[in-house]
Symmetry: C2
Subunit: 434 residues, 2 copies
């Protein structure tokens, strides 16, 4: 089932009352006259230095049309006025960096802003020497070069990758704080168009034996990342991906090839993949016995909790924004590892009333979906939250529901409803109900 | 109507016979042993210098797992082994650069590889001083700052932008040559996820008068690019776009805001847009009287040929590739300014037999669609071509059909069927039938 916007006519009615643009007869006239001379010098010194551009750009003018601009180049650069950056978390062992969710538009994450989570750093791999070995319980052990992989039919899909631990800061009371940005809460989430070869195709080549139910995926990094994956997932929608957003996959995302398991926790989607070993049973690697397994309230553990459940986050308004009275377009992202987002509901009164937000088509399976909801802020206090419902009918849980099911000690797969408290001043802070 | 792959089971049968990977017991064993010492020094000198990365990378090793990799960074970099570039055409006045279609995967074009076509160079625009004026036949002339534009509800869509003149080199006999790459033929084509505000929303704000049927769109560049656009298109799907592939629009694509007219010729999608003037009739700008109008065989001219008709191009194999006998996955892009691609047909025998290619979902309206077709090359000569059929039933024409309709003198909107001649040696050259 594909969720569709709730009708553009209803939306149009609302937007007719939407934000009042700044307008006065004076700005209108002033805009028509260009005063360049003095401005030119001022601007030149105010501009950030452009060290990368092969052709130096002229300074910004009141009327840029007064000056011939720079000619085409082999490689584009961002505007000197734009400086999006990942936030590097030096506290995480071997490091992680978060996508700046609050600065992004639509659903695609630019490749150089895709989140990172490494356990042995980013290896440098010569694509000419790269190989992928498939062995174990197969008819024909095979070793593929990158060129071999690229000769097979390609498949592409736009989907999210989310770190298993993403969102724990919005669940655990020890880490929760009011001064939390969207990226600090959920920035280990990014979306790309991935291209590669279907793992099912490679498995047919190797002739996977009927008794082989699991495979080990091993990375080329210094951590020798290894995870056990059911063969069923390989035959469903797994991809050995070598491209990301149209170009070769970036080093931080697994160059020259990674395992892509749409909708599953990031850690299983082994980067720099070099070896796949087929077997009867899971391998019980360190990543499975020591990590990525969820202790439950009753003392047992939830093992192989691969799928990332439905989740959503309002990315605007958010800390440290300040909202002013009038129409405000609440926007954010929703996603589910189990399929398409069916609905996103938004509350602006702390959960008394929930309204369906508009979803931006196309709504794709196991992909982030952008939602938006018009809200007339009348001043005073308000609590904004969102909850995602996916096509399986699963509803994003409250913190209390999640704690009841998993206990307080869990760290991975934290998808509870979160939101933002608007204070009387209009200032916005992170907020978790219950 | 959404075109779907022609059935994965048929495809699976074929791919069971697909490319034979390189495998021998010897390479298998050799791969397991890392000989680092001597290799380390060799690699280090062979590696391209990394001048941009904030953290120096270790050299590529036979076993990269022997060395801790670099830690996360604020901004990612491409692998030192990857150097995609636009081809800059210095011959075009004020310049153009082509997307390297033959090096790209999927459908998204990385922002720094998006094609360029400028008439006064790329202006530098301070977003804090940017304004968009809407005036003329409106109830309320309005001037929007960038912040004003961003307060309205956002819309996103993935679509292509294609230069009106894209593809003329595959039509005009004076420019046609055998040594033509896909980007040389059709590289003024790129696809992005664009985000912005619906122009219809801004028109409602300004109160466009009922008699206003056209508007002038004017850019901030030194060429003062101006085009006349029907109001109907604004009310249909036009967007004032300020974001591209998740981030702020790049300078070469119109930073901080451009007009986006899905499916229409690139020239009308005015970059760095600063002014929109509503009127009864088209403005007959220089771009309409001197350019972007197609002289016809009968001596008249086709004016306001806004829409880019259905088109396709095989991007692999292509000049300068060489194919070897056995299975080969033919792949390419198809697109139509009138809606979705319904079907792509591929011939491998110069047009005697045409078979339906597989389309990669999701097939989006006014967007590039990736197609692929398995072909068993038996050696000898072959002629590969593709033709696109869109959801309106329009079929990409042959060169002869296009010449009969438009004459030999036209330059814009050249969408004739093109392809590739495989010579006895397996070497591939550009080819146009008729």
């Amino acid at each position: 089932m594909t969720a569709r916007p709730t009708g553009s006519s209803a939306f149009a009615d609302k937007s007719a009352e939407a934000p009042a643009p700044s307008f006065s007869r004076r700005t209108l006239l002033a805009g028509a006259v260009g005063a360049i001379s003095a401005t030119l010098l001022n601007n030149a010194s105010a501009l950030p230095a452009q060290t990368k551009g092969p052709v130096p750009s002229p300074p910004a003018l009141d009327d840029p049309g007064k000056l011939q601009g720079h000619i085409p180049t082999e490689l584009g650069e961002r505007s000197p006025f734009e400086h999006p950056r990942r936030r590097v978390n030096r506290a995480a062992p071997a490091g992680e960096s978060e996508s700046p969710l609050q600065e992004l538009y639509g659903t695609i994450t630019p490749a150089d802003l895709h989140f990172e989570r490494h356990h042995g750093g980013v290896p440098v791999i010569d694509p000419a020497r790269y190989t992928l070995l498939i062995h174990g319980m197969v008819e024909r052990p095979l070793k593929f070069t990158l060129a071999d992989l690229k000769r097979f039919p390609t498949v592409s899909r736009v989907c999210f990758i989310e770190c298993s631990g993403n969102g724990y800061r919005g669940f655990q009371t020890t880490t929760m704080k009011r001064e939390a940005t969207p990226s600090w809460i959920d920035g280990l989430l990014s979306t790309s168009e991935w291209t590669g070869v279907s793992l099912a195709t490679l498995f047919r080549e190797a002739g996977v034996k009927p008794d082989a139910k699991w495979f080990l995926a091993e990375g080329s990094d210094a951590a020798h990342m290894t995870r056990s994956i059911p063969v069923e997932k390989a035959l469903d929608d797994a991809i050995i991906a070598y491209a990301q957003n149209g170009e070769a996959i970036r080093p931080e995302q697994g160059y020259p090839a990674r395992l892509l398991l749409p909708g599953w926790e990031g850690n299983t989607q082994v980067k720099w993949i070099k070896r796949i070993e087929l077997a009867k049973n899971p391998f019980m690697t360190r990543e499975e016995t020591s990590k990525y397994t969820d202790p439950l309230a009753n003392g047992t553990a939830r093992m192989f909790s691969f799928v990332m459940d439905a989740k959503s986050l309002i990315t605007f308004p958010a800390y440290p924004d300040t909202v002013s009275r009038g129409w405000c377009v609440i926007t954010g992202l929703a996603w589910s590892g189990r399929g398409k987002i069916a609905r996103v509901e938004v509350t602006t009164d702390g959960g008394n009333a929930w309204e369906s937000a508009e979803l931006q088509p196309p709504v794709l399976s196991k992909c982030t979906t952008r939602f938006r909801h018009l809200w007339k802020y009348a001043g005073g206090e308000a609590v904004l939250m969102s909850r995602a419902i996916d096509e399986t009918g699963y509803v994003q849980p409250t913190r209390a529901q999640l704690a009841a099911a998993r206990g307080e000690g869990t760290f991975y797969h934290m998808n509870n409803i979160r939101g933002w408290k608007v204070e009387r001043s209009g200032k916005v802070f992170f907020h978790v109900e219950g």
